[in-house]
Symmetry: C4
Subunit: 285 residues, 4 copies
Amino acid sequence: MECPQKEKQGKFKNAKTVAYNLLAAFIYYDQKRLMVILRMSIAELLSTFMFVMLGCASTMATLWWDFYHTPHTQVAMGFAFAYIAALEFGGRISGAHLNPCVTLAACILGKKAWAELPVYALLQFIGASVGYEIVMAFARPVDRYYMLEKGPPFCVPDILPDISQSQAFSAEFWATFFYILVLAGVWDSRVRDKIDAVSLKLGFTYLALHLAFGDLTGCYMNPMISVAVIMIGGVKPGGFFAVFFIAPVIATIVAATIYRLAFALPYHMEMENWGLPVRKPPTSK
Amino acid sequence: MECPQKEKQGKFKNAKTVAYNLLAAFIYYDQKRLMVILRMSIAELLSTFMFVMLGCASTMATLWWDFYHTPHTQVAMGFAFAYIAALEFGGRISGAHLNPCVTLAACILGKKAWAELPVYALLQFIGASVGYEIVMAFARPVDRYYMLEKGPPFCVPDILPDISQSQAFSAEFWATFFYILVLAGVWDSRVRDKIDAVSLKLGFTYLALHLAFGDLTGCYMNPMISVAVIMIGGVKPGGFFAVFFIAPVIATIVAATIYRLAFALPYHMEMENWGLPVRKPPTSK
Amino acid sequence: MECPQKEKQGKFKNAKTVAYNLLAAFIYYDQKRLMVILRMSIAELLSTFMFVMLGCASTMATLWWDFYHTPHTQVAMGFAFAYIAALEFGGRISGAHLNPCVTLAACILGKKAWAELPVYALLQFIGASVGYEIVMAFARPVDRYYMLEKGPPFCVPDILPDISQSQAFSAEFWATFFYILVLAGVWDSRVRDKIDAVSLKLGFTYLALHLAFGDLTGCYMNPMISVAVIMIGGVKPGGFFAVFFIAPVIATIVAATIYRLAFALPYHMEMENWGLPVRKPPTSK
Amino acid sequence: MECPQKEKQGKFKNAKTVAYNLLAAFIYYDQKRLMVILRMSIAELLSTFMFVMLGCASTMATLWWDFYHTPHTQVAMGFAFAYIAALEFGGRISGAHLNPCVTLAACILGKKAWAELPVYALLQFIGASVGYEIVMAFARPVDRYYMLEKGPPFCVPDILPDISQSQAFSAEFWATFFYILVLAGVWDSRVRDKIDAVSLKLGFTYLALHLAFGDLTGCYMNPMISVAVIMIGGVKPGGFFAVFFIAPVIATIVAATIYRLAFALPYHMEMENWGLPVRKPPTSK
């Protein structure tokens, strides 16, 4: 979750887009910049792949275990600890965002360049798709039958039958809202050197969110993984668009903006640390 | 749980009350002090909101899951990991006390100004009320029916039927007593730089307390959340006042006083660190 | 688990015994030494009290929950996280040994003076007795009936019916052996500054031991808590003496000696750090 | 998991083989080198012994608990927290690899000398064999009957009945692949001073892998423990060779190579830290 590639941001600003960067890198063989971009891309793709695969395999394991009863605690633990694993692998290379909402929050909080958002989202989509595809290959014949007869494929966004669309929207909104607030707190410049246990803290936060909202909507908080599993799982999401796409994005924008305005260091203090031009506030005392 | 606002304590002492501070801040536009107070207030309110909402949603999730059986381990995990999330978000801004007893202990141990106690209690009350209100909005029709017919609304202080009032009092007393002792140990000035895993340690302590006393009384340890959920949940608490209000407050006073007298650094050593006037003890060797 | 009182060891050596220290402290009013001893004693007593009370209350909670089935995972989590809480409170004051075997290992490894062993054992006995007594007061009438009719009081050392005495001995031996090895690793002078997450590591180690051996013998590893609960619980331990008293002590001596001989820093290197007289080894190269 | 013995690597290079080292150590009484080798060997053996014994005893505990139902979450927790215990004991002495695949990855990533691989594998085999043998001695008569009648001995590699050989191969491959990627991330030279919570992170990663793949193949990821338990457990592994031996080794080679090529520091930067001869890359800017 650290941002070691932060010092490259100046370079990203000089070049117009990441696409241009990649092109330039190939043409001029700017080996160092190419390596940084490639390394981050591969790490983000592999982390998302790892997260989706471990999380969804944990969900499917509840099928292998007991046919008619999905113990939600096991699913929540599966996703939360898969998150710890993915953060430990990719956190110090690409940040292991795994989620375009996280990248969006990082952009709003000034930790990432905006040009990186579409690239990260694309990589997360590819990672999630491949991961989900491989998990599906583990299904036994009896699991495939179960999926077709009894309900949707595992790990596909789903809403608890008895709740309304607005309750589901609310669940995804609040889950993402709390998630982004905690992330922003962990990213805070004042604690940049206290990152030893960061993956554990975020993992248990993830577990808390899943224990609270996992039964209602699956606690996705992630538009890109939702797209990937819906496209491959083959379900018609119906009115799911608002719940799994709009809600997390709005929650991210609200939470990151609140943190930036209310809790981040005042702009001139924060930015001096990053070597960026300073906007002096009206001096008071 | 850190106290970065500690260096503002001198200022709080100069001004008579926090109310005066707020007034003065608006009148003289003392931007810096206003920002510190506002930031702490919003963080404390949002952390309590997050904690109550995630914890109570985890409790309600046991309804969605299985109608007649509340697996207590899941509830305990829900509250404990919600505590980790709230600490990670608010810990370094407001301390994320979430509980007037914690603020009371901080005052007794000299980590907070007494004027902050009523402000924190009010913010915690508002946060808990809003959080509980929103969780209630997730209830399905069948949950509402269940709550009215079968028992009290979820997450409202309740006492196991077969135990006596004094046993319930004792459970809340000892839970709060141990909680405050551990908190005081974590706040100890000698370990001020060892705060990396503090939220995890407190989260698992919370889990231990809930596993031990959660079935007896819900292990509230928190007069303000109790008030909030009783007012909104609409139950008549009967003889619950002593158990959920008196017991935690007495336990807090006893535990914090024991820690201050027996375990905190001798007054003159502790206080030198904080830049406060020194009361010299009789020198011995 | 840290040993901040280590620098007092020189003083302990000068005085013949701790009893003499206490006496001298009262007579000469050596305020500082008295405070250190009193502080450590109260902390060790309170930590053991907290540990036994939280752990045994978690065990009893399985009664409140479900009459005929004790989910062992819940008991193991109760004790392990109670251990984290006790370490966080008492660890930096008295070391929070909670167990005479731990104090014995600390003496063998040269981290504690031998004169402290009986004092710690006595304090642990008192703390465990009081804690167990208070937990028993939480029993409902139906629990008391259950205990008398169906089996031994909760939390009393017990052996799984179908296993032999030597299997039980072996279980307690190996559990204590591994526990002391891990403790010695955590105490190692080379990692004295890496103590941030120490309580979490030891807590999860405790959980691993309980998950492995808890069903066989309860995974006591603790002669003093065993004595306390057997005396108060009122069961006749029969041939339990070897299993719950001899096995942990032998395992402690074996494990601590192996660590000291094989893994601790060579004597002259280790001891230079502590400011003690140096026994030079035969120089090689 | 740290590599304090790294500074000895130069010496290992001078001597042709570890066998020669041991011989030379005995002949010339090179006390210091002998001690380092012996210490590492005993630590690796004892850690593997501890891991296998605690993990397999946790698995067997599910027998003591409930005859016809193995709650997989308990087994996963047993192995994951046994891993934390073993890392805390042996991590700073031998690295606590416990697994020849881990040693192989360390060699590929340049953290271990290749000559140590066979020695570690042998020690791991001995530790696993002794640990499994002792756990088997805890079996009650009824457990022995159950094992003979109902299925294979506990803790022996097994494949879920309904899945194909290639699905099992795939499960072991991906589990090992993710495990080695996370390990390489934790070992990365850039985070060598952030090792405080390393055992916890790896333990929860292990838990994530077990929750995902444990039901399919047991999530062994370990050729040496597999050999040990199959030899002692006495089952004919049939076509298991590819699943439990080939899959983890291939996954290790692929993952460690990917990490080395894509994510490890560029060779000349990484190696300067270790004091090794430098291969200069073509300078770019």
